[in-house]
Each structure stands twice: as C-alpha cells, then as structure tokens.
Symmetry: C2
Subunit: 217 residues, 2 copies
Amino acid sequence: MRFAVLGTGEVGRTLGGRLVELGHEVTLGSRTKDNPVALEWATAAAERARAGTFAEAAASAEMVVNAVSGRVALDALRAAGAENLDGKILVDVCNPLAFQDGEARLDPVESDSVGEQIQRAFPHARVVKTLNTVNCQVMVDPGRVPGAHHLFVCGEDAAAKGQVTAMLGEFGWPAERVLDLGGIQAARTVEMYLPLWLTMMRRFGTADFNIEVRRAG
Amino acid sequence: MRFAVLGTGEVGRTLGGRLVELGHEVTLGSRTKDNPVALEWATAAAERARAGTFAEAAASAEMVVNAVSGRVALDALRAAGAENLDGKILVDVCNPLAFQDGEARLDPVESDSVGEQIQRAFPHARVVKTLNTVNCQVMVDPGRVPGAHHLFVCGEDAAAKGQVTAMLGEFGWPAERVLDLGGIQAARTVEMYLPLWLTMMRRFGTADFNIEVRRAG
C-alpha cells in the first residue's frame, strides 16, 4: 500500500521505516521539500521510501499517518491539504503534549482531543486514533513487551478501523489485542491516559511497557 | 485497626464492609448523625461496625478512608475536621467526576487533582491516593478479574504508602501488584485515567476489569 507518514521525528521515522520493511511504499512528509532528516531517512531506508512535503506525501498516499506532534497536527494537515485527505484513512497517533515548567500538559484536554479536532477539521477524512498509548518502538514491535498487552482504536468509520487493525496486525498486534473504543470522541480518553504513561515511564526508567486489559468472563 | 470510612455510597459501604469482615473496627461517616443508610449498614455488618458523623468517624480512627465523591471531598473532610486528620493516614479513593449532558467531566483536571487538593488543605494528614482506578467490587476482591493486574499508590509519605499497601494486601492485592507512582502530584495522572476506564466499562458492559502493566526485563 502507499502510505504518507507525516512527521520526521522519531515516531514518523520509526513507523515509516517499519512500513517500508513490510513492503509498503512510504513518503515521509515534512514542512519543506528539502528536509535533511527526511532525505537521509529516504536514502537509508529503501527505494520504496521517499521524502516530500506534507502535500506531496498525502497526495500520492492511499493511507495517511499523522505522526507530527499533537500541538502542530492541524497545521501539518492543513499543509497536506484537505483535497489530499478526502476519503482517505487518516491514522492519528499523536498526543497534544507540551512541557511547561517540566510538567506535561495536554491541550486540548478532557472536553476535546486532537483526534476529534482533526476529524472536525477534515470531515471527509476517515480518522482513526490509535497507537498513541505506547512508545514508537513498541508500536512497530509489540514483542518488546511481554504478555498480551493491548492497543486501542476509535473512529467514526468501522471499515477504516478494520483496515487500520489489519495494518496493526502487520506490526505484530493480533486483532484480539486491538480494543475498539467506539467513535472518535473516545480519542480524548486515550489522550488523557498519557500523563499516567509518562509517570510510569519515569518510574520504570524504560518506555518498553504497556497495559494489558484484564476482564472477567 | 480502627478505620473511618467517609461516605455512605456504594464505595464506602463496600470498603467498610470488607474492613469489618477482615476484623477491623469501622465507623462509616456521613454528613448527619442519623443517616439511615449508614445506620442500616452498621446494624447489618457486625458489632465492629458503627455509624457516625464525619467528625465522629475521623476522631476515633487510626486510618481515614475518603470514599465520598470527589466533588464534595473537601467539604466532607472539613466537616471531619483537620484536628481529627492530623498525623493520620488519609486514603483517598475518589474521582472528581461529574456528568454534564451525559459526558463525564473531571474537575479539577490535569494541572491539579482532588488528591493534591486534599493534601494541600490538610497538610498534616498523610494522604495516599489509591484504588480509584478500579470498581469498588474489584477494590476489595481483585480475584473478580483474572491475571496479575495492578493498582497504583502515590503520596508524599513513604511509610504511609507502606501501611496502605499492607491494607491493600488484606484486600487481596500482593505488594508486587501495587505500583508506587511517587508523590501526590501523580494523583492527577490516575484521576485522568478515569475517562478511559469509563469508556472501557461501557464497551465491555462490565466493571469487572482492570489493567495489568506489562514491562520488559
């Protein structure tokens, strides 16, 4: 499949790199055409890997992954262009996190989420929120963490969630470990999990952890 | 041990009932002396069970459990009286949850928590936040959920956290399943987990679930 991965940070490069390894065509999108990080990534990855602007990446893609920071996600997606997102699955993996005086803060929080903001701003994109509850190394290699630990998906489009679940399966997440939380409003609940994740990460001294949801029956 | 359990709702009655079964003396505290729910609970439970005002309950207790709703916790604790809390372990199990137009909202959220508010308002109480991440039936009977799922504790007083962990052990939570998140500021991170918990509860159709934190190494 042809993917656009928007964002040249560690999350974007890790997701894009794994998708290339899996045989997909990936354009790593950034604000500028000549982003050196993106160009180096594309050179090192494989011939299926390209670098381009947000708009170039999204235009050629069948599925778009938003891997920029949550605080700039809407700007990046506007640069990608609504016409390049319409009808496409838009996988949102970001968290609206910033640090103020050393403390993590989310914006928006509670009464809204970046996942919902994106769906409102691009009503014809098929937004699926997922992967934001684990470190990017765990995203593409769940075996780093022992046990049958879980991911969440949410979004308005059931078929889109199904296709994203299939992509997660390629990363190593069996479908039974992907919990569907319902519509895109649930994005606020998985984004609000981040402060607990950060606190655990600091206490454990590693990002190689995740939660397994245990239930009766 | 002599416990005060503040709050006559399901959480307070369940925690108080289990503590009585375990052989502890428990006064279930409420706003008024003649709360019929508290009196009925005390009659049904055992001779170690009593009902009283918040202040009566706290005055006679060695350990105080705050099991009122987070939105009224500070009022209930003021009624209990700072002089009845000073130097005592104050176990805060509440969530600052309210429903607006059918949606769960937390207040405070993110930059503060009810756990922190309580510690600030009662600086001589030894506040330990715990148990707020599971349903009250699971609090006192973790075997309702399969697996080695976890609880969290946080607070400023390490000895207090140790004593609370021992109490959790009596409920059936081995110490290795109680994760210490550090100081009381971490209360905001476990309170912010609640929206995800609520979403899962609605999707699963049961409150008999919990998370097991899985980590490498």
